[in-house]
Symmetry: C2
Subunit: 337 residues, 2 copies
């Protein structure tokens, strides 16, 4: 099946580019609320399920034992910009469990923003593992390993008790089994395995409500949601979609981006989970679909996130020369739901 | 009509993302050699027609009058990385016609590569207009304005004699008229107007062969081709597709990227022009289609550009975790042509 166009990119009055994809909204009992495009095909969730991957950090007792605050817990499920505060909190997490940057197995990556790259260069620094957008997740993995009483070395690979616990948590949340045939390696070298978009969405409905989870897991999920709502900067950073959306929406929405055009949302009060995948992997499109869907399901009539629903395209002289917008097909489906 | 999938992105053994698009190959007489997807729809050619936009630089006599060498002429039709040598040549072009960086109307942009950003920051510099990937094109516009005897100020806007000459050259090469309704503004603030992919391809068949062009225009086109073949670094830079492809292929192929998934090719010896547009605007996909098409039409049996046809996807630890590849539909169409 060919997925519908969900997002259009305009320059002047002309549609310059188009993004196809799929979106599914599921309630906590697994009921199908909205489904557009193929939502049964396997999708690598990538970083969009970092909150599930952070569950062992809480469940192992590491967060309490090492005194991890909201900022650290939020960073453990972040794809951060590598800004000063992100780096500081990641270092603090590692120090708290007796480790350091050398224990990170995520590989080096430059900070996301030009300003932070320039600060690093002026200090004669080089992009390092600690700047990797996944360094908080990896620091959390290391804390959890130590709390579990196992040597963190090799934590990024299957067969290590920490990574096995992480995979178990993801399988439990999505209800989808781990499949060898659908397993790949993420950009930060941990395993990622493809599951249906519908099962990812169901996982986020359960993450937002606790429905169907054991008491410890439900408590861990609630603590992660509270931490991210309290520290939305830590989950992404300056100017980023997740930070901007959750700064406005607070506890009403938990949102998380993943590479290759994946996005996930939990709307706890509505008891809903969403998952989005853009066929071509474009983040600019997954963001617009996510914003439009949140606006519709939270019934935001005041334009609270209007700039995320229809972001402007600027020239290098900062003139608006176009915009990215939800397609008619998407708006119609959201309006009917 | 729905365009076919031309490119697949694999992670492990799983197709993670897909890119749809269209490709057309036209001979110098306008004959249709290959057509896949909708090639009649209007497409903004963006930077993929910088060679056409550079014709007035040659035809005005500016190149001779200001002593512009191959490096400068190549830079005038480049989307460059803002590396040291790109910046030096752009400054030299501006100085040659009595102007400076302050005359550039393209807006500021950071250099493309992390290493060049770091050098700039360590020198306490800031991203400026001269680092804009279009600064060579704009420097060429300024040189041509001076040679035409008009004040360069405002050269980026329609109504200025230079920009009117640039638009005339583009219309002449593509054979497509300028349409007010299909006009937008490019990232560097000059007008861009959408024409069919087929007319862009026909323009590059004529650019590569001179067929149907007046003698002065044919001479200018040949000089641009020779300059870019002699200085492929200037047209893009370290690690970039256009530079890598033309370093290997020399005068056998003239290739140029444009924003939003556009690519153009002239194969002078074969008398062919190509144009590619990826629906979603992804450069990683337009590059793979371009490489696969060049490999097919130049009958490259030795894997000369194999790494451009199937680029590897690396983790932050530099492990190969996937690849980008031409789709079966694309390979079949290329094989049949």
């Amino acid at each position: 099946m060919t997925n519908p166009v969900l997002v259009e990119v305009l320059r002047g009055g002309v549609v310059e580019s188009r993004h196809r994809g799929s979106i599914v909204v599921i309630d906590a009992d697994g009921g199908d609320v909205l489904s557009l495009g193929n939502v049964a095909a396997p999708v690598f969730p990538r970083s969009a399920i970092k909150a599930f991957q952070a569950l062992p950090l809480l469940e192992s007792g590491a967060a309490d034992r090492f005194g991890l605050d909201d900022a650290a817990i939020a960073l453990a499920c972040s794809s951060h910009n590598g800004e000063r505060r992100h780096v500081e909190v990641a270092r603090r997490m590692l120090a708290a469990c007796g480790c350091d940057e050398g224990c990170l197995e995520c590989g080096p990556q430059p900070p996301e923003r030009e300003a932070d790259k320039a600060v690093l260069a002026r200090m004669q620094g080089r992009p390092a593992r600690i700047h990797n957008n996944c360094s908080g997740k990896h620091a959390g993995f290391i804390c959890a390993s130590v709390a579990m009483g196992v040597d963190p070395a090799g934590y990024a690979r299957r067969g290590h008790p920490l990574m096995d616990a992480v995979i178990d948590a993801v399988c439990d949340m999505t209800g989808a089994p781990f499949s060898e045939d659908l397993c790949g390696t993420d950009g930060c070298s941990i395993p990622t395995f493809a599951v249906s978009l519908a099962s990812i969405a169901h996982g986020f409905a359960r993450f937002g409500t606790g429905t169907g989870l054991g008491p410890e897991r439900a408590k861990a999920a609630a603590r992660i949601r509270a931490a991210v709502a309290a520290e939305p900067f830590m989950v992404a950073g300056t100017g980023r979609f997740c930070t901007r959306a959750m700064t406005v929406l607070d506890r009403r929405a938990f949102v998380k981006t993943g590479a290759e055009g994946v996005f996930t949302v939990a709307l706890p009060d509505e008891g809903l989970g969403m998952a989005i995948k853009i066929d071509d992997g474009a983040a600019r499109a997954s963001e617009v679909v996510t914003a439009a869907a949140i606006e519709a399901f939270l019934k935001l009539a005041g334009g609270e996130i209007a700039d995320l629903v229809r972001p402007q395209i600027l020239s290098r002289n900062k003139e608006s020369v176009g915009e990215i917008r939800p397609s008619e097909a998407l708006l119609k489906a959201l309006g009917a739901s």
